[in-house]
């Protein structure tokens, strides 16, 4: 291990470093976590994923010493905390669990204020309001409420706010969205990623859901039963280049389709598509369509917003104004949506294309199957993800198969 470089060398010290971590519970033959070594760089989300009982929760609790390791070291921000005072360590580490565990007898504000209060902060009220706003909850409405007056999703938001209250550099999250209905979960995930974009914490995130891992993780650590690390990599590498059969099986079928979650519409070149305006003549649009070799033309409204897909047959039935024709465009996608969402819109459209719009709803181009296929192919070649490029070097040392 390299010594910390005080002047900040090119190889930055990881925020969290686990070294040969082991936990053997009393009276158990096999360790729950064994020889686990893991670096989490500052500002990244590392997801621990794996089958039930593989030691994810145990690993997480080893980091904030809710469980004491039987061997190995835990280093946070360059400081060996394996034997540090647990209580002061935990005040520097945010902790979010699935059941949230808000204090039911305290108001939301009191819950959030807990750690700052223990640390003797001043100006806590303002901090509480700031945090409530950060997690998208109106302070005036929620500050004085009690946890039982919140929905599951709101509780989890408060749980996150409480964990962030004292601005800890590190956040540990154990299946934080596990008990929440799929639609709300999706929203909380998106909100959390947006929030992480602002706060840039170093996060260890536990889930047993590989899709959540792919969505949330900058890196994914896949554990097998017994708490042994099967692979630790960028999500796209895990998808394209699983280290062994266990990893491949855990990822399951459709690895490439899952990979589409990692690429946004922004990252690909949009396809040109024949378009029509309400006043256009059907025959002219039909000619355009034949020329382009597409099955449908996209009718835009006067403001340039996608309106409906016009098929050749409909255009062929002469004489009717274009407005009333075609299959209404249902879902459109925006540039920051993922290709996975584009695929969904594409399959729903019946025209084999997903219309891409700008924030004001105006048409920008389409994503079609060829675009998607090209993106998948690009991923297979270079583990493509715009933000991922600089990290490939760091990974190759751990993963001899990388760069194939």
């Amino acid at each position: 291990m390299s010594a910390p470089t005080p002047t900040g060398g090119s190889e930055a010290e990881p925020m969290i470093r686990l070294e040969g971590l082991q936990k053997r519970f009393p009276g158990q033959a096999e360790p729950a976590v064994d020889d686990l070594s893991l670096d989490v760089p500052e500002g990244e989300i590392a997801v621990l994923v794996g089958p039930s009982g593989c030691g994810k929760t145990t690993t997480l609790k080893l980091i904030n010493r809710l469980i004491e390791p039987t061997a190995g070291r835990i280093v946070i921000a360059g400081e060996d905390v394996t034997h540090a005072d647990p209580d002061s360590l935990r005040r520097r580490i945010g902790y979010v669990i699935q059941q949230v565990g808000l204090f039911p007898h305290m108001t939301i504000a009191e819950n959030i204020a807990t750690v700052p209060q223990m640390l003797g902060w001043k100006g806590i009220d303002a901090r509480v309001d700031e945090l409530l706003e950060l997690v998208g909850m109106e302070p005036a409405t929620y500050r004085g409420r009690y946890p039982r007056e919140l929905s599951g999703g709101q509780s989890q938001r408060v749980g996150v706010a409480r964990a962030l209250a004292a601005d800890p550099p590190v956040l540990l999250m154990d299946e934080p969205f596990g008990a929440i209905d799929p639609i709300t979960r999706e929203r909380l995930q998106d909100e959390f990623l947006r929030l992480q974009g602002e706060v840039r914490k170093t996060i260890v995130f536990v889930t047993h859901d590989i899709d959540e891992a792919i969505k949330m993780g900058d890196r994914i650590a896949l554990l097998r039963i017994g708490g042994r690390l099967a692979q630790y990599d960028r999500p796209q590498r895990l998808l394209i280049d699983p280290a062994d059969a266990f990893v491949a099986e855990f990822i399951g079928g459709g690895a490439r389709v899952k990979g589409l979650r990692l690429v946004t519409v922004d990252d690909v070149e949009l396809t040109e598509w024949p378009t029509a305006r309400p006043g256009d003549e059907a025959a002219r649009v039909l000619a355009l369509l034949r020329e382009s070799d597409r099955g449908h033309a996209l009718l835009l409204d006067p403001e340039g917003r996608p309106r409906s897909w016009l098929s050749r047959e409909e255009l062929g039935r002469n004489g009717r104004p274009l407005e009333g024709l075609g299959e209404t465009v249902g879902t459109t996608v925006e540039v920051d949506d993922t290709l996975h969402q584009a695929l969904d819109a594409l399959l729903a459209s019946g025209a084999g294309a997903a219309a891409v719009v700008d924030p004001s709803g105006r048409y920008r181009g389409v994503v079609d199957l060829a675009t998607l296929a090209a993106a998948v192919a690009a991923m297979a070649v270079n583990g493509h993800r715009p933000a991922g490029a600089e990290a490939e070097a760091a990974n190759s040392e751990r993963d001899p198969a990388a760069g194939s």
């Binding site: 809710l66 209580d87 580490i93 059941q99 949230v100 565990g101 007898h105 223990m118």
Partner: protein
């Protein structure tokens, strides 16, 4: 003499005995609460220790009260002190038991998140576990109070304070003037006190439990 006439003629002493009765019960309950909650806190995390403590406290409740007061005479003599000691022993079980139950009922996720936030054992007890167990503990204290109100009357046999004096005096003079009136006054006094204490507990519960956990 009718009961009401009797009451009217003896109102001074009746009021005095009732106040004494309330005082000795309140004092005993206060002491039992301090000891009982301490025992509960000390043992709730360990199964064996808490079962042993509960078993010992239960023994006191099985001793007939007359006998317990008599057993205390060699060490403590008669009067106020042995009365309080006897009542404390009787009051312990419900308080200890409810303290243990209440602390164990606290949601494990709440305790884990408190630990995970860096709350030490004492801070956790004071800020989280005891406040959350408090409604259950308070119920134990209330049960103890009701038990002790009745038993305090028996303490009159060792010259203890309170309404027992009227009951035993009446019993010893059965057939004489006002015998039944005396007994009735003692019994009704205890019942009125029970109602007043219950009212007090109702108010205490409202003011000492957070709206967040109020049923």
């Amino acid at each position: 003499m009718s009961f009401l006439e009797y009451l009217d003629s003896r109102s001074d002493i009746v009021v005095q005995l009732t106040v004494e009765h309330a005082e000795v019960v309140a004092l005993s309950i206060l002491i039992a609460t301090v000891i009982g909650v301490a025992l509960g806190v000390a043992t709730y995390e360990r199964d064996r220790a808490s079962r042993l403590t509960l078993a010992i406290c239960a023994i006191f409740l099985t001793i007939p009260s007359l006998a317990l007061f008599a057993l205390l005479i060699p060490q403590l003599g008669i009067g106020y002190l042995p009365t309080v000691v006897g009542l404390v022993l009787y009051a312990l079980l419900p308080i200890v038991r409810n303290t243990i139950t209440g602390l164990r009922q606290v949601d494990a996720a709440v305790v884990e998140s408190a630990r995970g936030m860096g709350m030490g054992r004492w801070r956790r007890l004071r800020r989280i576990e005891l406040p959350l167990a408090w409604p259950v503990i308070l119920t134990g204290i209330r049960v103890s109070t009701l038990i002790t109100l009745g038993i305090a009357a028996i303490a009159a046999v060792i010259n203890g304070p309170g309404l027992g004096e009227l009951i035993f005096s009446g019993l010893s003079r059965i057939g004489a003037v006002n015998d039944v009136n005396e007994i009735l006054t003692g019994v009704l006094g205890v019942m009125v006190l029970a109602l007043l204490f219950d009212l007090a507990f109702f108010v205490l519960r409202r003011v000492t439990t957070s709206p967040g956990v109020r049923a």
